[in-house]
Structures are given as C-alpha cells and as structure tokens.
C-alpha cells in the first residue's frame, strides 16, 4: 500500500499452503491469522476466566459454575479474523494494489510464476520484488508427527476442543499456548528438551515457568518425543506419545487428546525459486541475509520480516522495515529500520515485557562490573483482595555504569506487561538514564510505578 501511494504499479501474491491437517486461512499473514491476533484473544479468554474467579472476592455473586465453550470462543475469534482478511482486501483494492491468491516463485530474472489453488499458472514481470514469505511451524520428523500432531497453524481454528494437551517445545509460542489452554481449564503438559525461552533473559524465563507450574501446567523437562501413535479416533481422539530422555536412556509414555508442536519455525524460502535468480540464503537455516537496507545480494530483490537473518521476528518490525524501504525507494527518504531496542511481550499467564538487553547478554557485552541491575518484586493492588500471589510479579532494569547509568535493559513480569513496556521503550530510545527514571514521579496505584 505504501508503494501504491507513490503511484507505483503494485501486485501482492499471497498463498497459504494448507497444513498437514488441512488448515488454511485468508490474507494477512501469520500474525493476523495464526499468530498474535488469535493468540492474544485466547489469552484474554483465559484471563477473563481468572477474573471471574477473582470477582467473587470483590463481591460479585453467582451460583452457577462457570464453564468454557471452545467452539463459541473460536467462532468469535475466526469471525474477527475474517473481518480483518476482508478489510485488507478492501484496502488493497481501494489503493489499486493488485492482489492474487496465488503461490509465487521466481522462474528467471525479474519474472515470477503465480499458481492459484486451481493450478492455473500466470507469469508476471516487475522492476523490483520484495520477499516477505514468513515462516511455518517445524515438525519433529518422528513417526506420527504430521498425521496426528497439530501446530499453532491449526490450533486457532480447531473445530473441536483440544482436551488434554501435550505441548512440545519451550518457545514463547509453546508457553503462550500452554498458558491459555490451561487458563481455559484444560489439562496441559509441556515437554521441554532443555531450557525455556531460548534467547530471552533466563532469570525471567524461569520465573515464567515457575508461575505456570504453580498454576496448573505440568512440565516434563529434558525429554523429546520419539513417536506419536493414535490409540483412538475422534475429535479429539486419544494419542499415545513415547518420549526419550536427553540425559540418559529413560523412556516414558503418555496419553493425550491433542499434541501441539511448537518447536520452532522454518522460513518459507526453499521453494520459491531463489536459486533461479541467484538470491543467497543461509543453507542451514533458510534465512536470507540482507544489508541494512533490506536488500539481498540481488539488487532488485529485497526481503523483510521473519525470513531475514539475524533480525527480530516481530510483526511491527516487518511492517516498519517494509514502509521505510518503500519510502527510501520511491520518496527519497534515507531512514533505515532501527532494529535496536525493540520492545516485545510474551503473553504467558504472567505476562512478560522486555526491551533491550537480557541480563546475560549485557554481562557478556559490557562485563559484569560495568552493569548494575535494579530489581523489585511487586504485588498488584488488584491481586490483593483475591489473595493472589504476592511475590511473583517482578521488574528489573539493567544499567550501563560507564554510560551515565543508561538503562540498557528493561524487564517486567506482571499483568498488562505489554502496555507497561511500550512507554518505557520510547524512553529507552531517548537514552533514559537511571537518574531520570528515579526522578520520574510514579502513577499510583499502578504496577508501572515500580
């Protein structure tokens, strides 16, 4: 849409290859259809369940037992997503961007072939190309994985309640899904190969894990599944999972209604003909290296989003990169995308917001003696009356002593972590120092005043 603003003739090719279970979706990419949007809505559903329980302590009286209906929630979520898909199509059409629901692949210089779901092929040429094909969930490569397991691609439109679920993985996808499934009242187990939330501040990751354990999620640590078999058919049926320890020869078995794989995502770069136009990709990871202007090694081909090597995999980052790229190409702008100090939030039952360095990375980069960590537990006022945990919410900032105690890392674990973190991210971008933070008067009574 940005390019169309500058009177360029633009086409978008978007196509979703169905999952092994047959799931597919409309225009908008992962975030809208099988990522952030449905995730946050289902996380909210789980939070509301908790709020209903808390409400009794605040004086709300209701005698009926409160139960959750998976189908009602899923239908509402999918309806909303449908309106977003439609909205994007209207927006593209309105800004004169040509949209084709077809699978695009390069067949030669400046040329792509688009194949629609009926198999009809068309060729298109263009002056420039932007690749933003994103990623899809990785499978384990064990017997039964594609036939019986689901991924996040299937979960948000699952036409039946998943029931007793085994989540394989310890990524934020795994923990967020495990978190809201448990919050909806389901029996959830998470099978972890080694650590939680690789790449995130490990102190915070462990606190998240502890909280989830104390709130109904079981963890099986240091095991990996080696086989999935179906014991009983049905929606859901019963699956038997056999797993092996990573620390020895021990084997365990378990039965679940649903097995959700969340062990990572692979870039969709292997089957789009990049070899035909000479675009380099990292053979091992599938990611595309680009310069700081999102340009690949082929000058007229650019790439943005999750498929980029060494860049953050976040929707707003991709959007920002895309807009700035087009402005540089067609509006004479020079601003490059800033990938530093990008705030993020993990929507686990106890939300975690972060911006900047983790404690480990700060120590590694600046040396332990040059950083100072300030931290504090806090008890949200809203949690006091319903007697919820008083020592779980936590915040810490990491400061660079050598640079005026500049805040280089911000981490908060508590309700509405995303909302809290956004403002601090702006402050950090402006070079916030500890002294400035201390001299800022807090808003009371809110968690953020800590």
């Amino acid at each position: 849409q940005e390019a169309a603003k500058y009177e360029k003739k633009v086409m978008v090719l978007d196509f979703v290859t169905p999952t092994p279970q047959g799931s597919s979706w409309g225009l908008g990419g992962t975030c809208v259809n099988v990522g952030c949007i449905p995730k946050k809505l289902m996380h909210q559903a789980a939070l509301l369940g908790q709020a209903l329980q808390d409400s009794r302590k605040f004086g709300w009286q209701f005698t009926e037992e409160v139960k959750h209906n998976w189908m009602t929630m899923t239908e509402s979520v999918q309806n909303y997503i449908g309106s977003l898909n439609w909205g994007y199509r209207v927006a593209l059409r309105d800004t004169k961007v040509t949209y084709e629901n077809a699978y695009g692949e390069f067949v030669g210089p400046h040329t792509v072939k688009a194949t629609n779901k009926k198999g009809i092929e068309k060729l298109y040429t263009a002056e420039r190309f932007i690749i933003a094909t994103g990623e899809r969930p990785r499978y384990l490569g064990i017997p039964g994985d594609k036939e019986y397991c689901i991924s996040s691609d299937d979960l948000f439109s699952l036409p039946y309640c998943p029931g007793k679920t085994l989540v394989v993985g310890a990524s934020y996808v795994a923990l967020e899904c495990a978190g809201f499934l448990a919050g909806l009242g389901l029996d959830v187990t998470v099978m972890v190969r080694s650590i939680l939330l690789r790449g995130f501040d490990q102190d915070m990751a462990n606190r998240i894990g502890e909280y989830m354990k104390e709130h109904g999620v079981s963890f099986i640590r240091e095991f990996v599944p080696i086989k999935v078999e179906r014991v009983e058919e049905g929606s859901p049926g019963i699956l038997k999972v056999t797993a092996k320890s990573t620390a020895g020869d021990q084997m365990i078995e378990g039965e679940y209604n649903t097995v959700l794989l969340a062990i990572g995502r692979n870039p969709c770069t292997r089957r789009i003909g990049l070899d035909k136009v000479g675009v380099n990709i990292n053979e091992k990871t599938g990611k595309i290296p680009v310069n700081d202007e999102e340009q690949t090694n082929v000058p007229y081909i650019y790439a943005i989003g999750d498929i980029l090597q060494d860049k953050l995999e976040l929707t707003p980052v991709a959007i920002q990169a895309g807009r700035l790229l087009v402005q540089r190409l067609y509006a004479g702008a020079t601003t490059k995308c800033d990938y530093v100090n990008v705030p993020t939030t993990v929507f686990t039952p106890l939300e975690y917001g972060a911006c900047g360095y983790s404690e480990e990375t700060a120590v590694e980069k600046f040396g332990e003696e040059n950083i100072e960590v300030y931290h504090s537990h806090f008890w949200p006022l809203e949690w006091t009356v319903p007697s919820r945990d008083n020592n779980k919410c936590y915040a810490k900032i990491i400061c660079n002593i050598q640079d005026n105690e500049r805040v280089i890392g911000f981490h908060v674990l508590g309700p509405n972590a995303g909302e809290v973190t956004q403002g601090f991210a702006a402050a950090i971008k402006c070079g916030l120092t500890k002294e400035q933070l201390d001299s800022t008067v807090g808003i009371h009574p809110v968690c953020a005043e800590v």
Binding site: N79, G82, S83, W86, R89, V90, R93, D94
Partner: protein
C-alpha cells in the same frame, strides 16, 4: 439459474426472508426508507443504490439479493434498533454478504470495483 431480488422492509421481514433462502448465497443492501417521491432520507444511500444496481449482473448464480429498507431516520438513529443490535450494522448504506464478515459501508458502496469484489470473489 441466475440471481433474484427480493425487497423487504424492517428487521423481522429481513430475518424471515434471509432464513427462507438458507443455503443460497445471500447479499443484502440496507438503505433508509424512501418518501412518497421515492427519495431516501439517507443521501449516501441515494448515491450508492445505482452503483450497486449496476453491478448486480455480477452476482453468482443462484444467489439472492435482498433490498432492505431499514425504517425512518429516527428509528435508524436509535442506538438500540434491531439492525444495530442483532446484525451489527453501523451505518446505512451497508452492502453485505450474509453470514460472512464481508461488507461494504457508506462510501465504500460508491466504488463499483469494491461492490464487484464483494459479489464475485470468495
């Protein structure tokens, strides 16, 4: 078999009619009532109707086009009217594909391209 048009007035008649055509693709255009001279109190509806009518030949086979007058201006302005409450309409004119989130509202209905997209694409 081509498409057919049905004209209704008011919420109950709309719902009854839509239900009677269950199973077929249903498109509906909601407009404000017309006076004795055939002019609607809703100026945007006056602009949209000819645009929509011009695209009707693009309707898929077997579909039903329901032309629905929602009522007088005062009824429409009431935030609790049944169209707003039950069908979640926010404005007139609204052109929608019944049972889906696909709809065009107000000025979107003036654009032949968008109307055509609603009628012809999935």
């Amino acid at each position: 078999m081509g498409w057919e048009e049905v004209q209704v007035r008011g919420y109950s008649e709309f719902v009854r009619t839509a239900q009677s055509y269950h199973g077929r693709p249903i498109f509906a255009l909601f407009c404000g009532d017309k006076d004795a001279e055939g002019k609607s109190w809703c100026p945007d509806c006056v602009t949209a109707e000819p645009v929509v009518r011009k695209e009707l030949h693009n309707l898929p086979d077997d579909s039903v086009f329901i032309y629905c007058l929602v009522g007088e201006r005062a009824y429409w302005k009431d935030p609790n009217n049944e169209f707003r409450k039950n069908l979640k309409l926010t404005a007139v004119p609204t052109l929608l594909k019944y049972g889906t989130p696909q709809k065009l509202v107000e000025e979107e209905c003036f654009k032949a391209e968008l109307v055509r997209m609603l009628f012809t694409e999935d």
